[in-house]
């Protein structure tokens, strides 16, 4: 598993495309209401999946550990939402924390971890 994180619009999926020999069709973009395509090589915007799970009161780390075998060969991009003001909305607040815990889980289970800053990647694991 490879984790790629960074702020919004920093070029995370572009980095995945050019670094891991992927094509657009290999990318699956998570949204708050779609079901992850476990057949895709890369799951992008996983924070949207985490928001969906949070809204459905599903424990995100439990969900990830239950699906760890499906995640093993995946490239996962996550928009880091940890650095702003604590949201006033309780769902967004729970989402922000769930995303942080999910990223800890993904980072510890990944063989490579990258942070992308303004289009420039840095390997941190």
């Amino acid at each position: 598993m490879v984790l790629i994180f960074g702020g919004a619009y920093q070029g995370k999926s572009d980095f995945a495309l050019r670094t891991f020999g992927l094509e657009e069709k290999d990318l699956f973009f998570c949204t708050v209401d779609n079901t992850p395509d476990w057949g895709a090589k890369a799951l992008c915007n996983a924070e949207q999946l985490f928001l969906q799970l949070t809204k459905n009161n599903v424990d995100v780390v439990r969900f990830l550990s239950d699906n760890i075998d499906k995640l093993e060969d995946k490239i996962i991009t996550v928009n880091d939402v940890s650095q702003g003001v604590v949201p006033i909305d309780s769902t967004l607040r729970a989402w922000r924390e769930a995303t942080g815990r999910a990223m800890l889980f993904l980072a510890s289970n990944s063989c490579q971890v990258y942070r992308v800053f303004c289009g420039i990647e840095e390997r941190i694991k």
Partner: protein, 188 residues
């Protein structure tokens, strides 16, 4: 050398950028310009500009005011009346304010073409001067769902940031006074 600096709010970006621009000008014996991008709309803005001017007092900056159409400043004059030379060192603070000015004109109708246009203008400015320190703001890591216009602004600023990091020889992230160089001259 063109330099791109970003980081969170009140992290010391401007101070670092000012030091760097001053060093660049001193090393090469070039004029040192401060490109002020804010277009004041009320007394609060005017007070802020006055404060910024006094904070830069003694740094040796010759201030140029240019809120839109950034390349036009190269054929204008500074506040003190000097003709601007493209071969000087420029501190452009900030890319964020420029995008606001271009995207949200006073007539109230958002210009959705502004990010693409400004990306080209900034690339041209970097090419024409070769010695500009660009300051932007890292506004991409909060847990909030914005309205479409604000989201378009964030996406637009990220386009400008990525355009500039592609062009600049040095890319620096400032975190509470600490700096991290993501791209170094001659390394990438």
């Amino acid at each position: 050398m063109n330099v791109f600096i970003s980081g969170g709010c009140k992290n010391g970006k401007s101070f670092h950028a000012q030091k760097l621009a001053r060093e660049m000008a001193a090393e090469q014996d070039l004029p040192l310009y401060y490109l002020a991008t804010m277009i004041p709309v009320d007394d609060e803005d005017r007070a802020r500009i006055k404060r910024h001017l006094s904070e830069r007092d003694g740094w040796g900056f010759d201030t140029i005011e240019q809120g839109t159409d950034i390349c036009a400043c190269l054929s204008s004059r500074t506040l003190s009346g000097n003709a601007v030379s493209a071969s000087g060192v420029f501190l452009l603070d900030s890319v964020t304010a420029l995008l606001s000015n271009e995207m949200f004109p006073p007539d109230g109708s958002p210009d959705m073409e502004a990010p693409e246009r400004l990306a080209k203008q900034l690339a041209a400015f970097a090419r024409l001067t070769g010695n500009t320190v660009f300051v932007s703001d890292y506004i991409y890591s909060d847990a909030f769902i914005y309205d479409p216009l604000t989201e378009a602004y964030r996406r637009g600023l990220a386009l400008l940031d990525r355009t500039l990091t592609g062009i600049c020889s040095s890319v620096i992230e400032v975190s509470y006074g600490f700096t991290k160089e993501h791209k170094k001259r001659g390394v990438l």
